[in-house]
């Protein structure tokens, strides 16, 4: 029933829910600004409980303003690996990305300058019912 292109369908990950919101967000004016402000392609691998296990991959493509499930088409500028809850933490500003990196809760592969732009700013804040 979910709208077309949902990345959260069939996923148990909270992150998938949030990424669905990002997908919607990228259609707004504020979302579109990310194309010029950031403009990188990020692949995000998210594991439910244990890093590297049962990972699901998502792509937040701020170059073409789209979010989709699976590996990046082409080479992503940076690839991140998270646990589900840690990704939510970073995306909602609970954890600062550098901190997550230092703690080993965020693994980075790829360009560091791209990684640096991976901030909570990219993610819309979910409004609460």
């Amino acid at each position: 029933m979910a709208s077309d292109g949902s990345v959260s369908e069939g996923s148990k990950l909270k992150s998938a829910q949030l990424l669905d919101m990002v997908r919607t967000h990228l259609t707004t004016d504020a979302g579109k600004e990310l194309q010029t402000k950031v403009g990188f392609v990020y692949q995000i691998n998210i594991a439910p409980k244990k890093m590297g296990f049962e990972e699901e991959s998502f792509v937040v493509d701020l170059k073409n303003l789209k979010v989709y499930k699976g590996k990046a088409e082409g080479k992503p500028d940076a690839t991140f690996s998270f646990l589900d809850s840690d990704f939510i933490g970073v995306a909602t500003g609970k954890t600062n990305p550098q901190m997550a990196f230092i703690r080993g809760k965020m693994k980075i592969k790829g360009s560091m300058s791209a990684a640096q732009k991976f901030t909570p700013e990219i993610f819309p804040k979910p409004a609460k019912l």
Binding site: T28, K94, I108, E121, P124, A127, L129
Partner: protein, 763 residues
């Protein structure tokens, strides 16, 4: 300012010229001298004054061969093949200082503080080797040209692991070779396997997964370690393989030079014992001691670290003390120019000045009482006793505030135990990229005095804070309700009634306290818990709302309001499964629609199936606003925002004065990127309930998602004034402040200084 000079190397604190000394800033100089170039960066090593030092150093340095570069440096290379990580970490300035504390706590937790190491007295020259031999005594015999297969298994393994590490430099594929039976226990194997995977990732970080895997597999295969856990061991394999002999020699020859036997075990035991005496109430150190004992057998990674120490000592050791004293003096001079009383009383300054007076000397990387003042000898002990949290904690404090490589190094060295945990440290530091801290520190210091005062302050207060923080963390597990301290309503004759009154008057934070008093008094009172949950939800705290509602449901499992509230809160927390279960339960327990729901819930609920049930119910009674409300929540879960909006609009037609419905409508619109419309709905909600914290906070989110950060700040601040415990709003506020380039207010945000924020951003 003096402190800046200290770090940046201002003229006022130039170090009296040690010939060849390149450290123009005292802190760096101090660190260099103390540490003996422990820094893992090779450049730094080359700069060291001790380069011109003892004769033994010469051949080592000039040597070409696998171990020419400092062991451990490959971690750096692997970690930052292109030097980009520092850039990433430079983003630190904006970070929440408490997070650093946390992060370091975690590091320390993982590798608990080491014990004091009762080191034999050392006197300059020969002592170097004596110690080194001590460390090595067990693993290496006296012969400089070891016989591969005759060697004890330890040594075989040792050399073999070295050649693995060396392969990171040569980039040569690491071949699987057959080793003789090493008699490794399953635990050893597991440890080696885990570590080699980790190390592999570090040292070959620039190579890509496949390469890493093949290297590690080569290693593991040779050691007869199956990659799956609980490996089956092959039978012993004999046969001398010449290429292995070669590998082994290359990797190990250097480290084996000049080694004389000296038993390590007694020392180690003594050490472990002593440590247990220190261990105190915490269980972790005990675990460490055990771990250490185990490591004596299988774990040889540590050699890498020892070699590094060995080399650095060769270069610096004999000069270390003199240079250290000298540099410490200039450091103290610089430090004492700082008039801040906090600083003057700080332990750090005391520590440094004691060193400069020779009361404490740092010898072979250990702080020791100096000869100059035997009385001061007790200082180190005393210090440790006063701070059961241990040296490590102290230095953690310094560490996270300083963010400097000197501290990082000093921390590593001062932690007076060079063996058991150092593989962990190697890992940790390679991950951190020690040099970055230095850059970071420089940047921080350049920003001004405030920060330096801050860290000195924190250094002194850290232990206390840590204890507090520890408790907080322990209590923050999921779904456990957290009561406020010092609740004035405890002892109130009728806290429930008081709570209901306060809730009605919109004093949510007060109502929380009264209702907490109620549920403390009557833990089985479902209504008390329910209203507490509702209050928390309106106060924008879903975690606490869920915790209360779970208790309410325990007391009254069929309460529809409770089930709906749980469904909503879990939806907000993006917990789809839980939300679905509760919302389905809502229908199941509904007197009118319960029959619609099949008895057994499927293992995994499908949103559309639950939606269908509610659609049936909506056909049965289209005038029941509750049905539409739940449907709206369900559509939110499946991100059918248009349907969700219609459902809430329908419910609002039936119940136009329900402020929470207006908020739900607004939130749905916001989440479907119709933030502009959402603002209108929120406004309706706030007109009906002016103290509705959730709507204020949502208003902020609405503006932020439209890119209107200045406005969002005003609303977040307003929400926080009403409920300073709304953590989400604090996080969002911080994000908005930094995007709106109001970094000047980040501190106020960190300090939760609402007064200042309100003054800057009135609504």
């Amino acid at each position: 300012m003096a402190f800046r000079d200290l770090v940046m190397g201002g003229a006022g604190c130039a170090v009296p010229g040690q010939d060849g000394s390149s450290s123009s800033n005292p802190l760096g100089g101090l660190a260099d001298s103390i540490i003996g170039s422990a820094s893992k960066t090779q450049e730094r090593i080359r700069e060291m004054p001790g380069l011109a030092g003892p004769g033994q150093a010469g051949p080592q340095i000039g040597r070409s061969g696998p171990l020419t570069s400092l062991p451990g440096s490959e971690f750096n290379l692997g970690q930052r093949p292109d030097g980009q990580v520092p850039d990433y970490l430079r983003g630190f300035q904006g970070a929440d200082p408490r997070e650093f504390t946390d992060a370091w706590n975690q590091s320390v937790e993982r590798w608990p503080p080491p014990p004091q190491f009762p080191m034999a007295p050392l006197n300059q020259e020969g002592a170097l080797f004596q110690e080194f031999e001590g460390i090595y005594g067990q693993q290496a015999g006296p012969s400089g040209a070891p016989q591969m297969l005759d060697a004890p298994p330890q040594r075989v393994l040792n050399g073999f692991l070295h050649s693995f590490l060396d392969s990171s430099r040569t980039n040569a594929p690491f071949p699987a070779v057959r080793l003789p039976e090493l008699g490794l226990s399953q635990a050893d194997k597991r440890r080696i396997r885990d570590r080699s995977h980790i190390m592999g990732r570090h040292i070959f970080a620039d190579k890509g997964e496949a390469f890493i895997d093949s290297q590690v597999n080569g290693l593991l295969h040779s050691l007869d370690i199956d990659d799956s856990l609980g490996a089956q061991t092959r039978g012993p394999l004999g046969g001398q393989l010449p290429e292995f002999e070669q590998l082994w020699k290359e990797g190990y020859a250097q480290s084996n030079m000049q080694i004389a036997p000296r038993p390590l075990m007694p020392l180690a035991n003594q050490w472990a014992d002593e440590f247990q005496n220190h261990a105190g109430p915490s269980g972790a150190p005990q675990g460490w001691a055990d771990e250490f004992a185990n490591q004596q057998n299988g774990d040889q990674w540590v050699n890498q670290f020892q070699e590094q120490q060995h080399q650095s000592r060769l270069r610096n050791g004999p000069m270390g003390n003199m240079a250290g004293m000298e540099q410490t003096r200039s450091l103290v001079q610089t430090l004492s120019q700082n008039q801040d009383p906090k600083f003057q009383n700080s332990k750090f300054l005391q520590f440094v000045s004691k060193m400069s007076r020779g009361e404490l000397i740092v010898e072979e990387n250990q702080v020791k009482p100096g000869m100059a003042n035997a009385g001061a000898g007790a200082w180190a002990d005393e210090f440790q006793q006063q701070h059961p949290e241990s040296w490590a904690a102290e230095f953690t404090a310094g560490e996270h505030q300083l963010r400097s490589d000197s501290w990082a190094n000093e921390f590593a060295r001062t932690a007076p135990e060079p063996v058991a945990t150092n593989d962990a440290w190697v890992d940790e530091f390679s991950r951190l990229g020690v040099k970055d801290w230095a850059d970071e520190f420089g940047d921080q210091m350049a920003k001004g005095d405030e920060i330096s005062t801050e860290w000195v302050d924190s250094y002194d207060q850290f232990v206390e804070e840590q204890v507090r923080g520890e408790q907080k963390r322990a209590a923050s597990s999921r779904f456990v309700y957290q009561f406020a301290d010092n609740n004035p309503y405890v002892g109130h004759p009728n806290p429930l009634k008081e709570g209901q009154d306060l809730f009605r008057r919109g004093l949510l934070s007060e109502a929380v306290l009264a209702l907490e008093a109620e549920v403390l008094k009557n833990p089985e009172n479902a209504e008390g818990w329910r209203l507490l949950g509702i209050t928390h939800a309106e106060n924008d705290d879903d975690r606490q709302a869920i915790a209360s509602m779970v208790r309410a449901r325990d007391a009254d499992p069929a309460n529809l309001e409770v089930l709906l509230a749980l469904g909503v809160s879990h939806t907000n927390e993006l917990e789809q499964e839980e939300a679905l279960r509760y919302l389905r339960g809502w229908l199941q327990h509904h007197p009118k629609y319960g029959t619609l729901v099949p008895g057994d819930a499927a293992e995994r609920l499908i949103p559309s199936e639950v939606e269908n049930l509610f659609q049936e119910a909506a056909i049965l009674s289209p005038e029941d606003s509750d049905i539409h409300t739940v449907l709206g929540v369900l559509y939110n879960l499946s991100r059918n925002y248009d349907k969700a909006i219609s459902s809430f609009e329908r419910a609002l037609q039936l119940k136009p004065r329900d402020y929470s419905l207006w908020n739900k409508l607004g939130a749905t619109q916001a989440n479907s990127s119709r933030s502009a419309e959402a603002i209108y709905a929120y406004q309706e909600a706030l007109d009906l309930k002016p103290n509705y914290v959730r709507a204020w906070s949502n208003m902020g989110i609405g503006y932020a998602n439209q890119g209107r950060y200045e406005e969002s700040i005003r609303y977040y601040v307003r929400a926080l004034v009403m409920n300073p415990k709304a953590d989400n709003a604090w996080q969002y506020l911080r994000i908005s402040l930094s995007i709106a380039s109001r970094n000047d207010l980040l501190d106020a945000c960190e300090m939760r200084d609402l007064e200042k924020l309100q003054k800057e951003f009135p609504l």
